[in-house]
């Protein structure tokens, strides 16, 4: 195997959980969070402002997708899906999941501000737990199974 010392150092840093997360991973993580939060918000806005009861008919849901807010939400969630897929190639699943959980906090805040939803003290405490969890996971290496891109 070539690059012995570099590979050994990489493995050591990954196993010790102290390797720094690179800038591209940080930026993509932020992008994933923003598209997810805005997508969920648009979807929720569209769902709450549709009049008819949807029942369980798939056709009703497909029709609903073509209403403006739900369409915007769907477009944002497609972008979120593709960017998150890319992120999962750059970082561990067990890293991506907790770190992107900041989106849950943002959704709770948007629900409170824009929809007037009641956010109880339990929900704020839960939000605080999520933030602490994100900080913990954010201190670990992003990728512990690193592989080079295949061309």
């Amino acid at each position: 195997m070539s690059g012995g010392p570099a590979v050994a150092e990489e493995a050591h840093l990954a196993s010790s959980g102290t390797r720094r997360v690179d800038l591209k991973t940080k930026l993509l993580t932020a992008f994933v969070v923003v598209t997810n939060v805005l997508g969920n918000f648009s979807m929720s806005w569209g769902m709450k402002h549709q009049a008819a009861d949807l029942g369980l008919s798939p056709l009703a849901y497909i029709r609903l997708i073509f209403t403006p807010w739900v369409l915007l939400g769907t477009a944002l969630l497609i972008i979120w899906l593709l960017s998150r897929m890319t992120l999962l190639g750059w970082a561990d699943l067990s890293y991506v999941l907790p770190v992107t959980s900041i989106g849950y906090v943002a959704s709770a805040v948007l629900g409170r501000v824009f929809f007037g939803e009641i956010v109880t003290w339990q929900r704020w405490l839960g939000t605080a737990f999520i933030v602490v969890g994100i900080v913990f996971v954010g201190l670990t290496a992003a990728n512990t199974t690193k592989k080079e891109p295949v061309r």
Binding site: D92, S101, G111, R123
Partner: protein, 121 residues
Amino acid sequence: MKWLMVGIIVGSTVLADLLQSFEMKRHTVAVEDLRPGRVAGMLAGLARRVPLVVAVFFMAISFFAFMKLLSVADLSFAVPVTAASVALETVLARLILKENVTALRWAGALCVACGVALLAM
């Protein structure tokens, strides 16, 4: 109905994420592939990978179940409660994907799971 939708969302999300993580680690996307001129080719390449297609199918199930959940529950309930998958997926990432889940990462995942439980109350 509410909890049935939560179950469907969590189950299909777990399967979709494991498949995506497994496949995207086998052939990662390089930063250069995200440039406007190359995105179409990159997307076409992704669409030819069977595990990703199956993952998207499970995500579609999760998506429609999520739409139903939003119509019967608050956004501030619907989004956080589906994070129940975090704890389950962290365990499966260790067991199936062989990721190095350190003590700090376990603690973080546990905090997130506790947070989700509180949000769901």
